[in-house]
Symmetry: D3
Subunit: 245 residues, 6 copies
């Protein structure tokens, strides 16, 4: 997959946060593939090395994550917060993530959903990113003086598992039907060799995307959940609806 070099008209990079080395890929990797193929810059921030997991050492998982991000055409950085399965909602974390938002200056931000009943780290990171996206706009915080305030365009939540899909937000379905998009996504998930080997994670995500696609009358789609209502200048932007059956 070779992302086109030139930027999109709306230019701003895409910034995705993950609690573990594979969360972004399993939760919304197809969307990343689709956007980088269209020329959008994408950057991943991963907040642990997956060190609490049953399989894979931190070193292995780091290598897998780098390879996977590259397959999606994204850059990657690791940060350390509290560690895998130890994340807490601390103001200092939100301020730190706000600093990253100010540095990267994204349009759209992706984070795990706030639904409480999944891996404990996921909704906590989602909450930290939600807070960070607001704090990034405030002018008075000392720790953030390195970059000027920044307001993102929109925060979308992704769901790593079906249980994490919010029932109180109407999703937006992103069409990822292009065969090369699905192929890049599948390869990126597969690059997490230590995780993909067990429990059908790759199949789970492809089945979810196929089900979303069937609903929309297309091949594959991924549901994202907007943190705020979408604002459009015209109904022409919204001419697709998900109702095949």
């Amino acid at each position: 997959m070779k992302p086109a070099p030139k930027s999109l008209p709306d230019g701003a990079p895409l910034l995705a946060f993950g609690a573990h080395p594979d969360d972004i890929e399993f939760g919304c990797g197809g969307v990343i593939a689709r956007e980088t193929r269209a020329g959008r810059v994408a950057h991943f921030v991963v907040c642990s090395r997956g060190e609490a997991g049953t399989r894979g050492t931190p070193a292995q998982r780091t290598v897998e994550a780098k390879k996977s991000a590259a397959l999606l055409g994204a850059t990657l950085e690791f940060i350390k917060l509290d560690g895998d399965a130890r994340l807490e909602v601390r103001a200092a974390h939100a301020i730190r993530l706000a600093g990253i938002i100010r540095r990267v200056r994204p349009g759209i931000v992706l984070a795990p959903s706030l639904v409480e009943n999944q891996h404990p780290d996921h909704p906590r990171l989602g909450k930290l990113v939600q807070d960070a996206a607001r704090i990034a706009r405030y002018g008075g915080l000392k720790e953030l003086r390195a970059s000027p305030p920044h307001a993102i365009a929109q925060l979308f939540f992704y769901a790593v598992t079906p249980e994490a899909e919010p029932s109180d937000i109407t999703p937006v379905l992103i069409d990822i039907s292009a065969p090369e998009t699905v192929a890049a996504w599948t390869a990126a998930m597969g690059a997490h060799v230590t995780q993909a080997a067990t429990r059908n994670y790759v199949e789970l995500q492809l089945v979810r995307a196929r089900l979303c696609g069937l609903r929309a009358g297309i091949a594959h789609a991924i549901a994202l959940f907007p943190n705020d209502p979408i604002v459009v200048e015209s109904l022409a932007q919204l001419s697709g609806g998900a109702r095949r059956f």
Copy 2:
């Protein structure tokens, strides 16, 4: 207001349903003005003459509705279902509305929301339109043989009053900030002279649109509520989010 003659790239007309002569204008007239100004064809179907209302005769209200639709650049037809304050959810009504959908062949359809706690006719018409939009796709109904089946792109609900805004659908905010859009909308509401004279209806709608606009950091906006998830080909279509404060 002179809508441009040429059609939009996505071409398909906009079809709006109202239970009473002024529902479309009060509920989403600003959106109509914005779309027709951009060259989209708009057609109104009004299902009573407002004959149960306290003010205005059916004849007066017919004249007002025609003038108002013209100010918005839309065409208008009246149909008779059960009459004002008498509407029931009957299969025959849904089939009749499906026939109109097949004839007009719209992309986007607008209807009053399904929220039960407002004028009894509003949610019932919303339900009838929701049903009609599905029935229009079925090939076997005798009454509908005049036109081939038609699948709309999306059904959006509008809310005539704040109470009718669904709390379980994430709204889409349509930017109607252009001064000439607001002016056309205000004039169209004012054309319902017998209604606008009492109870601050025009002020109610302008206050609602201003509040939506303030939330989105723009002058005015109107919230629409999609019946089905929105499907997009790229996040670039969704670069606006409503979070000013």
Copy 3:
């Protein structure tokens, strides 16, 4: 129980609708007792004779309902809509109920809740009353010309069973702890001899009222569910909160 002869400062009568001869008593009889004891006029409209029930003839149930209403200090009228277990949501019914509202001119109206999962007649009557309360305000309906339009102050829903309590409306708890109020209510429920004899109906309601009372730190209370937000002139009107445990 001897209701005081003089009217309350806010004067307007209380109007309660029931689908069957015992619904008002079982669902909110304690509130009726409390209000009539304070001098408020109360009127019951019962929309069937309970002829689909397993026990009791229509004639027996008519006698029981009259006796029960008298024990609560209320007047009673029967109307015939579609019959017990046959009620449908028809516009003509709503208009008819609107005519009663115009004639009685109540402040507060009580109706069964809209929750769908109970006796089919209950939520349908609730919906008809909700519609009627709005239609009563419209000036143009021929059938209603006998009385001028009337706007009620508030519609409250009552729940005949726990399953009928709406989960999306914050209830208001009415203190019915006065021993003579509970006694009048218990007597009124017991007057429905053919029904009270089976299935612990009276116990069910007293247990519910005791549980509400325990939550509020009082002896007994009944939960009502407002159709619209309550408007007050001062927080002083709202100085009680239900949080004993």
Copy 4:
């Protein structure tokens, strides 16, 4: 598939209602296959011949439905209510369905879910069955005198499409992983030749069942939605939980 001849310990037959000839199979056919294989008697009541559909004549669809029911080990009867795409919620229909419930005397009843946003006939039939299940218990309705009152054990809703899954009821997942169960279900769906040929209906259902199964750590599962809380005598009945990921 050869259902065992002897009845289950809890004996009572399973009764499933469908609005169209293929609804039961597509919505919950795997559950039927699993239950009849275990010896439970199953009976289908289909309320139209699918005459509004785009493909297949009523005669063809009747044949398909009979073949499909036989593949699932169920008996089948057709009844005529208002016709395909014409169903209305009428008290007379509910009473008629109550008569069938009294005649068949089922333990568990299956019906399409009440979610409003799918084929208009589906939630209406769901509502009619919900009402019928209550009316079947009342002793006073003349039309029902042929059989004594009957109280079912539980009503479960099935969802023909993902959109019809209620978000406010916690589902129960039925394990249908036995290969012969899935095979019987697949064959039964395929027997609806005129429908299965288009729009990936069979794939849609198998993808849904695989996704449910992945969540539960088994091969395939179907979600049912109980109308009332489940009552158990011991936690030992509830030892399975759906949380694989």
Copy 5:
């Protein structure tokens, strides 16, 4: 505005908590004005100096807050928890707020709503106050021995922005239509000079209050959200309903 010297019959003071120097005024200042004008004592507890904000120094904001509280007839104290944009939900904070509740011994307490999607400090303070209101009742906490346990009458949440309005609590609308009430509120908001100069904060709140007022058929109203069901001794306390349109 000169609050009358004598106390209300129900006597107890009003206690309002804000995360930042202007939250109480922007979120519910009109209610404060209305209550102090009627003679109720009001006290504000502000938990930061707004030091993370873009505009205004902590010193400026302290002065503004004091002036604003005085305009509303309220007393004011600042406390320091974790600092602006740094608030965390810590048990020690809740215990500290409980100590204030015991000292002030209020009837009604006001706090920002628990809705998660706004300024991160707002829902956290709301949660701390919710916890504090319960902890204030417990007799065994060493830190609280200075004052005897105290049970408040009711906790109401206010919403600083429309996004913070809870959708799962039925609001109570407080009539603030008296011109001098609106004037005092507007002046108090304007006293936050460093904040009011940007982003239309004052307009936002007045538009919200006008929209609430239009719904209730009065000039202006503010929505509060009760933490617990309201308990009343008579329906006469609840004779106003918000349904103008």
Copy 6:
């Protein structure tokens, strides 16, 4: 009450967590009694000595809890987290509880519900247990190496008060009608002498259980709220439904 010595077919012990010495008994003691009577091993983990309470010293409450657990046939251990009315959601706590889950290796786990509006410690402990049940499955956490990973069968939430009952989870009702079960439960609640003496706690719980029982047509029942959908192998496991009225 003498629990049978032999284990149930499904063998695994029941593990219940409580924030205070009496929470398990008041919230779900009847379920414990019913299960231990059937031979299931039950173990309680109590996370404070109730030292913030108004009545009873920690020493008294320890004695009461031990006596009460014995009356229910359960074993008991105390652990110290942050102390009564001081509990915080810390990752270290969840890991510690996960260690207990690994040691006890339960099938079903019981914890207080996540509803935010009750004693602050209750939902926090519920969240910690929810997290712990997941963390117990992960292989990489150093602190947990003493025991191999363990996946529980199901987590059920109990509600200490009616306010704590989740409205978004369909409950399961556990039949505790056997007179000796109710007697054992009542005795166990009464063993908390310092608490039972005030505020009608015992009556509150018995009234709740009677109301649940009335709904289900049995004597007494307790509602539990599953964290994940229930998975069953056959509808025969679900033959009871709660709909008496």
